[in-house]
Amino acid sequence: MAAELVTAVDVGMSVEAIKASQMGMKALGAGIAVGLTGIGTGIAEMGIGSAAVGAVAENKDMFGLALLFTVIPETIVIFGLVVGLLLLFL
């Protein structure tokens, strides 16, 4: 009974529709990868950024170092972006 149902679905979709669906899934996967890593980066930067602003407010010389520390979590979103690009173009 189940085998018959699967056959029926397969028969109902053209090759173009299946390809479009797969592309859609890839796009969805890429979106989720970039979106979630973006949220992760945001959370990480919240703490580091507020501490960095606090430190710079007290000592201006810390600006360069503080900026460097603040952007370190950007790597997380870059990983997400790489995964997204791989999904879309490979």
């Binding site: 919240m46 950024g49 507020s50 501490a51 960095a52 602003v53 606090g54 007290e58 000592n59």
Partner: protein, 351 residues
């Protein structure tokens, strides 16, 4: 996610600022250098640090020890007011509550000054307007002729009921010590109630206050032991710490130093304090005991702030450390002014 939900960006911002400020406080080596300097050299050195602005502003009006005294008081008040401005939400409430102790100190300084006939200008030099009574209110109190009028001018302030109740006794005895005890008791009762009020972070605030109360009670016990005449210990006990009134009174009645230390240790939990008390089995001078207790208190507070880096602790630790930096510099300057030997001055420093 728990950490993210509980810690907000403004808290991290303020706690970091406090830690940076704490790192800028004078290190021990600097005090050791100052011990070998003369008063003008100390003034110049202080003028190159965080106190530069105050020293520059006041240098035309004051000289010598007065310049240092006023500059330190101004800097302390400015620092405390700035902290109240930048602290957010609950932290602000706790910080303001903690800084209310300066109201007691300022009002008592004015009352004592008036009782001894000191000029208003001289009293003003040592006031630190860091609590709820700002510089304008204190300026209005200073020209008042009599103590009754000063107390009346404070009508509506939380200290007024205690001041009005205790003044007749103070007038009769000529001493404000009982009034001071009562004001501090009221202050601690109020801040304990504030910490227990169910506000987020209240527990951490309470830990800090309870440690403060414990150290204060232990200092009082040692002072009472060093005292030649007997006083009622119950009047001097502050409620809220590890020692109950009964324990406090019982401890005060123990004459043997070893037994006193054993009984006291049974009531205390902090390891640092326990090892310090062990050292105190041999009789020491009251000044030595107080300085060492203060050092332990600061050390314990520092540990608490490291355990809870994003809480009220880093702020309160900075407030305390800044206060002791000012006390140390004042002690150094006064010691040099009185031509005390460096070793003697070093005993008074809390580093």
């Amino acid at each position: 996610m728990v950490g993210v939900k509980n810690i907000s960006a403004p808290y991290i911002y303020v706690c970091t600022r406090m830690r940076v400020r704490k790192a800028k406080l004078l290190p021990k080596e600097e005090y050791m250098r100052m011990l070998n300097m003369s008063l003008p050299e100390i003034t110049r050195l202080i003028g190159e640090t965080e106190y530069k602005q105050e020293i520059d502003e006041l240098a035309t009006t004051f000289k010598g020890i007065d310049l240092i005294e006023v500059a330190l008081s101004w800097n302390l008040a400015k620092e405390y007011q700035k902290i109240q401005e930048i602290t957010p939400g609950n932290l602000k409430q706790f910080t303001q509550a903690y800084l209310r102790r300066w109201d007691i100190q300022n009002v008592l300084t004015i009352l004592r000054g008036k009782m001894q006939g000191v000029k208003a200008g001289k009293i003003k030099e040592i006031l630190v307007p860091a609590g709820s009574l700002d510089a304008n209110v204190l300026d209005r109190l200073l020209p008042e002729e009599s103590i009754e009028r000063i107390i009346d001018a404070l009508k509506g302030h939380r200290m007024y009921p205690v001041l009005a109740r205790e003044y007749p006794y103070a007038k009769e005895s000529g001493s404000l010590s009982r009034m001071e005890n009562e004001l501090y008791k009221q202050f601690y009762a109020e801040i304990l109630a504030e910490g227990e009020g169910g506000i987020k972070g209240g527990n951490l605030f309470l830990d800090f206050i309870k440690l403060d109360i414990d150290i204060k009670n232990i200092k009082t016990l040692f002072r009472l032991r060093a005292d030649t005449f007997k006083e009622d210990a119950r009047d001097m006990h502050i409620i809220g710490g590890a020692l109950s009134v009964t324990n406090f009174a019982n401890l005060n009645n123990i004459d043997d130093q070893g037994e006193f230390i054993d009984q006291l240790k049974a009531k205390i939990r902090q390891k640092l304090l326990l090892s310090l008390l062990e050292d105190m089995r041999t009789e020491k001078t009251i000044r030595d005991v107080e300085v060492r207790l203060t050092r332990v208190q600061l050390e314990q507070m520092e540990r608490m702030s490291k355990r809870n880096p994003i809480s009220i602790h880093p702020i309160l630790v900075y407030l305390e450390k800044k206060k002791y930096e000012v006390f140390n510099l004042r002690a150094l300057a006064r010691g040099k002014e009185s031509k005390l030997p460096s070793e003697k001055i070093a005993e008074y420093l809390v580093v």
